[in-house]
């Protein structure tokens, strides 16, 4: 074995065999060590979301607003909703995030699994939320949704429904969906002609699940999967995918800013995100205060001036002035869309996500 290893190494090392510089090692040791020591210090209160335009505006109005009013510096970070990152922090007791935005079913399961602290309702005012806007470990943040869109510069008349999205002869090209069973299986059944009211009843049966996967099988070579919310916009923009089902907030904003995107609100699937506190966060008391601030009507009204936010705070969500100004609010399209069933995904999420991941990888 040694010979083989050496052969590999020598090929690389051949490059460097003959040269002649001597580097001042001692001074560099001092420099590097000093620099590294200076890096490790106590960290600021850290809030994590899904990025994009919402987070940019939330940084200004919610995070920095809290920092200004409390004198406590707030830093923010981005993730793609992977619960594994949080589970790894909790498991290794190296918690580097404090407040995290989590989708509803993941929040409930994470609560059962001990990934999140119970919300301290003596700090966060529970009375200000819309119905179902709170849970043991989560305080309602904002509504979100995904819907079909495409670039009208490249495609004149695109599909109007999920059933039409499956017509790859009429509309060739890659279709980009979210890399999760949640939303994808709903879309497959809707494309197969299942009505919105029957959707979760059918998806709860083995037959219904098989039917959804069979529908996906039909166009598998044309399907692509996104993980981060920025990908649909980027890939539709570059033309490398023809159609995408992406976060509506960003798509609507891009269209408003001049991109030729056609966003089909009738294909909306929506739900709510929740603010949570990571279990074992050293900043838990501050984190609860931050959550209370971020769900107050005042800061949210300011945020709504810059971004079409659909908060779970009743006073703002039901404010006609806010709604009139923000046609891209998810709540404005609730009638035409499908509400993603939290209870369903709490119960079936683990099994369906695993089957979905195996199906994608195969």
């Amino acid at each position: 074995m040694l010979d083989e290893i050496l052969a590999v190494g020598n090929t690389r090392a051949n490059l460097a065999r003959k040269s002649s510089i001597m580097i001042r090692i001692p001074s560099l040791v001092v420099l590097a060590i000093a620099a590294m020591v200076s890096v490790g210090q106590a960290r600021d209160l850290t809030v994590v979301g899904f990025g994009g335009g919402f987070q940019e505006n939330a940084r200004k109005h919610l995070f920095q607003g809290f920092a200004a009013s409390s004198g406590q510096p707030v830093k923010d970070d981005v993730y793609d909703g992977e619960q594994a990152r949080i589970a790894a922090m909790v498991k290794t007791r190296d918690v580097t995030w404090d407040v995290v935005m989590v989708e509803a079913p993941e929040m409930i399961r994470g609560c059962e699994d001990g990934l999140y602290e119970k919300i301290d309702w003596t700090v966060v005012n529970r009375g200000k939320f819309i119905p179902n806007g709170t849970a043991t470990c989560g305080a309602g943040a904002v509504g979100w949704g995904v819907a079909l869109f495409y670039d009208t510069k490249r495609i004149g008349n695109g599909p109007m429904t999920y059933a039409q999205l499956w017509d790859t002869k009429m509309w060739p090209g890659k279709r980009l969906l979210r890399n999760s069973a949640k939303t994808t299986l709903e879309i497959a059944l809707l494309a197969d002609g299942v009505s919105r009211t029957d959707l979760y009843k059918i998806l709860a049966t083995k037959v219904g699940q098989d039917r959804a996967f069979a529908k996906l099988d039909a166009i598998k070579p044309d399907l692509m999967w996104w993980k981060s919310g920025a990908q649909p916009l980027q890939l539709v923009g570059s033309g490398d995918v023809a159609f995408a089902v992406g976060f509506v907030g960003r798509t609507a904003r891009a269209a408003q800013d001049g991109a030729a995107y056609k966003l089909l609100w009738q294909t909306l699937l929506f739900s709510f995100d929740f603010w949570t506190v990571v279990k074992g966060s050293p900043n838990t008391p501050q984190a609860m205060k931050l959550i209370d601030y971020m769900t107050d009507a005042g800061p949210l009204r300011d945020l709504a001036k810059d971004w079409a936010v659909s908060p779970a705070t009743a006073a703002v969500a039901q404010d006609p002035a806010v709604r009139a100004k923000n046609p891209a609010m998810v709540a404005e399209h609730a009638e035409e869309g499908v509400f993603i069933d939290t209870e369903f995904w709490v119960q079936y999420g683990d099994d369906l996500e695993r089957r979905f991941a195996a199906w994608v990888a195969r």
């Binding site: 052969a7 399907l223 999967w225």
Partner: protein, 386 residues
């Protein structure tokens, strides 16, 4: 200096580093692939009783009672997740069974209360899953990463096809790696021949041109292809300008893009060792063969090619080994059907948080690569190349 035999002690600090940051991790990975601590951690009394259970029929009231008492505790303390996820991995539906039972807070007699709550508690298969999870060591991850499963009677059987994925994934990874290796050899061999036949000055220049991309980060080269292959990118622009195509082609997210970029990245690894062996070939051999009347192809097949075999072996070995571990290039340039097994190792860490599966897949990948590399080493005499 000390007597020579003790000189190797100077290597101790380096050995310590390798031991700490590579051997220890690899060892722990081996352990992680078979460790099974969740049940014993979250439900210690139940696990102890289940270990003692003989496995016939249903366990007795004591086991039911231990579980009935421990499940609500684990749920209240928010530490039921680990064991729920572990059991659900072995048998679908276990997670919700556990959580529902915990929430219901069953009372004695538990052997009546639990089956009344959910008939699954009267199914011996459920209890066998619990018992196997109590042992502390499991072959589950190693089996699952080969699409195998433990049946209710403890025998090993294949997973149903709608759950199997890894055999296909391993096959795809090795197929991509072998394709890349063969293409690299076919493209690289004549190039190495040309470089070896040049005068010293020219061959040095040519080698420098091979070395320049070799020195530049794999990611930079992959990123370059990522930019070049886009729909509105330079490659489509060039093809349209030549007139080969009218409308832009789908180049990104295809197997072709993955193979192209991988060949591009790995080509220098075959050219370099080939040039080294080719330069060492004494032209007198070939002249002698020519004077004996051997035609050109004959001289190549029976003299030149065998003499370059060590270089071919070394180059192929390096390319194959590096190619099987590729992860970023398929992730950036390929579609879902072009992902390699390395991607699922990363997914099990970053998305699913199942370290046991990640470790088990890694072990099989390491073993598979090792066997193929060992086989190559047996066929091709590497020593001569060195």
């Amino acid at each position: 200096m000390r007597p020579p035999s003790r000189g190797w002690l100077l290597s101790l600090p380096a050995l310590a580093l390798v031991g700490f940051a590579l051997l220890l991790p690899l060892g722990l990975m081996l352990v992680t692939a078979v460790r099974d601590p969740e049940m014993a951690t979250a439900l210690p009394r139940s696990a102890a009783l289940l270990r003692a259970w003989d496995g016939t029929g249903l366990p007795d009231e004591a086991v039911f009672a231990a579980l009935g008492a421990e499940l609500p505790l684990a749920a209240d303390g928010q530490f039921i997740g680990g064991v729920a996820g572990r059991l659900n991995f072995e048998r679908a539906g276990m997670r919700s069974l556990l959580l529902r039972t915990a929430r219901a807070r069953p009372a004695a007699p538990f052997s009546m209360a639990l089956p009344a709550l959910d008939p699954q508690w009267a199914d011996p298969a459920v209890w066998h899953v619990l018992r196997r999870a109590s042992l502390g060591v499991t072959p589950l991850y190693l089996l699952r990463s080969l699409d195998l499963d433990v049946a209710a009677d403890g025998s090993v059987q294949a997973l149903p096809s709608d759950q199997s994925v890894f055999l296909a994934l391993f096959a795809r990874s090795f197929a991509i790696a072998i394709t890349v290796t063969v293409v690299c050899l076919l493209i690289g061999y004549p190039v190495a021949q040309a470089i070896a036949g040049m005068t010293r000055r020219w061959s040095q220049m040519a080698l420098a041109l091979v070395l320049i991309p070799f020195w530049i980060s794999i990611l930079v080269r992959t990123t370059a292809w990522f930019i070049v292959l886009q729909r509105d990118g330079p490659a489509n622009g060039l093809l349209q300008w030549i007139g080969l195509i009218d409308t832009p082609m789908q180049l990104m997210f295809t197997r072709f893009a993955v193979l192209l970029a991988m060949v591009h990245v790995l080509l220098p690894f075959v050219i370099l060792p080939l040039v080294v062996v080719m330069r060492r070939i004494d032209p007198a051999f070939l002249r002698a063969a020519a004077s004996l009347g051997a035609p050109h192809w004959r001289r190549f097949v029976s003299i030149y090619l065998p003499l370059t075999l060590p270089g071919i072996g070394a180059g192929a070995l390096i390319v194959f080994m590096l190619a099987t571990g590729f992860y970023i290039t398929p992730a950036l340039l390929g579609g879902p059907g072009d992902q390699m097994v390395s991607a699922s190792i990363a997914d099990y860490v970053n998305v699913t948080l199942n370290w046991g599966m990640a470790a088990a897949i890694s072990l099989w990948l390491l073993l598979g690569t090792g066997i193929l590399v060992g086989a190559t080493a047996l066929i091709v005499p590497m020593r001569r190349w060195r």
